[in-house]
Amino acid sequence: MNGRGLVAAAQASAGASAARQEVRIASRALEQGLHQTELSVPGVHCAGCIRTVEKGLSRIPGVEHVRVNLSTKRVSVKWRGDEPPDLLDALEKLGFPGHLTEADAGRKDPEFGRLIRALAVAGFSAMNIMLLSVSVWSGAEPTTRHVFHWISAALALLCLVYSGRIFFVSAWSALSRGRTNMDVPISIGVCLAFGLSLYDTIHNGPHAYFDAATALIFFLLIGRTLDHVMREKARTAVRGLARLAPRGATILRDDGGRDYLAVGEIEPGMRIMLAAGDRIPVDGVVTEGASDLDCALTSGESAPRRATPGSSVQAGTLNLTGPLTIKASARVENSFLAEMVRLMEAAEGGRARYRRLADRAAALYSPVVHSVALLTFLGWMMATGEWHRAITVAIAVLIITCPCALGLAVPIVQVVAARRLFENGIMVKDGSAIERLAESDIAVFDKTGTLTLGRLQLVDGDAIAPRDLAIAARIASLSNHPVSKAIAAAAPPADAGLADTGLADVVEQPGVGIEARIGGNLYRLGRADWALAEAGQAHAEGTVLSRDGTLVARFAFEDTLRPQAREAIEVLREAGLRISILSGDAPGAVTAVALRLGIDDFDAGLLPAAKVGRLDDLASEGRKVLMVGDGLNDAPALAAAHVSIAPANAADIGRSAADFVFLRDSLVAVPTALAISREAGQIVRQNFALATAYNAIALPIAIAGYVTPLVAALAMSLSSVLVVANALRLKAGKNIPHATDPSRVRSVKGDIAVEPAQ
């Protein structure tokens, strides 16, 4: 017992210093020995939390500057010295468990800054030009009008060069690749309008379209900025979740010394020490120790696997109960994880081929608009022979049809939909994912971690005598093994009769179970063949509690279903989706879950490549597959599917492969996302119909030459307001109370944050 205690203490201190080394690897060097580390702290939510964290951390020697960002739930710490401060431990003690994030994650997003500055300049120009235009429209004297036109020209030039650049660059890159997008008609319209207005200003003409050109840029930039904000928000939120892959590992040198190396520096043949609770960094073979491995993320198996000397282990599995020494057999880039990345890259199929609705509309739209403008010009040339008049009318046609409404029609709906998804705890990567989800007609689920929580639950708790269960729970509470956790969780709340019985001589035997003495009796909780060995039942199976070698109680477990899994499946079925399960777990476990959920289309024991194969088969039947999965083994399938959803506790690589990530436990997120996406699709179509109807009315007026700058400004604003107002009607996912309650999101994140710290 004492020897074990010492080993445990040594392990713990090795674990602490490993955590500190990890802080160093994750930090970014600033000038003169100053380092900056970014930590994600999901628990901060008020001024008090800010003060506790900032004060608590700045008291650590070496720490120079602490700043909490409440919006992103991050702490940025600047520290000096060779040895990094033990920030994770300090945060844990302050009651705000945190985890490391990329040092770069806290940096500003340059694209967003560019958009906001462009928007500010465009707003300034557009508003001032509009101010001058109003007096021109209300009949200013020719001299005043002339001066005002010149001022407007100067302001519009500023707007065009500074803010219009964003559209010109995008339009040019599309054109140079022989394609066209929404930015092409915008750029042509704006540039022509500016050019002609400048010509008229020089020749003292009565009309100038500077206001229309700048207002167009301003409105469209609003749409673009909103689109960007929504995507960036989702990306940060996903990035803020804990990394499940370790950054480094403790290496045992041949002379007995220890080094902490970054994962990328581990070579085959090196011996790696792993404490209980560590994730395995590279593929390898166990040389010493015995433990249980949680393979839920790598293979989808819900039951832990035993590891003894000689067994080979995959990168990404979690070491649960005992210390292990493994010998690396591959570099990180040749490990299981990297193999998944290669499969994912090969699998990117349907998604790359998908073209966004807005781009498809633009491909139809721009040739029509441009040929109508050209025909108008030719028609007026033939009718009147005045080239200036003809060009003016043609440009009026371009401005009036310029896809102001069309450019807003799609992004504004997607922004509203993304906002609604966010309120329901769902992050979306980009707008095209919403369009693709609305199209899906079959939902394929992974089992472990997706339909289930990957947490075991005691089935027959009622059949066991409360006293026995209480004893089992007390013993089990000392272990990290999933089975032990399930027993501990099933314990009757507060059992007075047992409070005084002390546990003694507690020993956890990795891979088999845990034993303890209570009042002279030796209790064993674990595998039946070990706990009952002295009773001659060396071949018994299952998990049992034994007293002095005789059977006391038998435990049976099942994987906990995700909350509301059954309802979610029902709703999806009603929405017309076919439901199917593709799992890597053993057939027995998959069948049980499928039966409980009433799903009759399922397949078990699939390797990652086989899952992708199934999805390809479905795709070739013309089906649009929605893949919902969480594990490393699902990542290629998530990438191959038409659209994919992952829970927040998925492997990093799975989260980055998925289009949607949901933060709460409940599986209802999947039908909610589907409902919101479908309604968004409907509203987008309505918006297109509105924009088309508007064009059908405005175009004849423009072609007839009745559009003055005043009419153009009015028509443009009206159509934009109309599509924005229509987008705000999105109802799906709205009636959920406390949808933005941060504590619910936090608790999910908290679970993940705690995990690596075990």
Binding site: I50, L70, F124, M127, T144, V147, I151
Partner: protein, 55 residues
């Protein structure tokens, strides 16, 4: 007409000042933690070592 000679430039100047102020506040990071700024108003003890400037 004469009033316009100074009123219009004045309007533009004011607008330009507002634009410059906005760009400056953006650059100095005042929009990075809007929620935090709202809560920090409740913290009144600016002790030594607690005083920090944004960069």
């Amino acid at each position: 007409m004469t009033s316009l000679i100074f009123l219009v430039p004045l309007a533009l100047l004011l607008g330009g000042t507002a634009l410059a102020a906005f760009l400056w506040s953006l650059k100095s990071g005042q929009y990075e933690d809007l929620e935090g700024a709202a809560e920090r108003i409740l913290l009144d003890d600016e002790e030594e070592g607690d005083q920090r400037s944004r960069k």
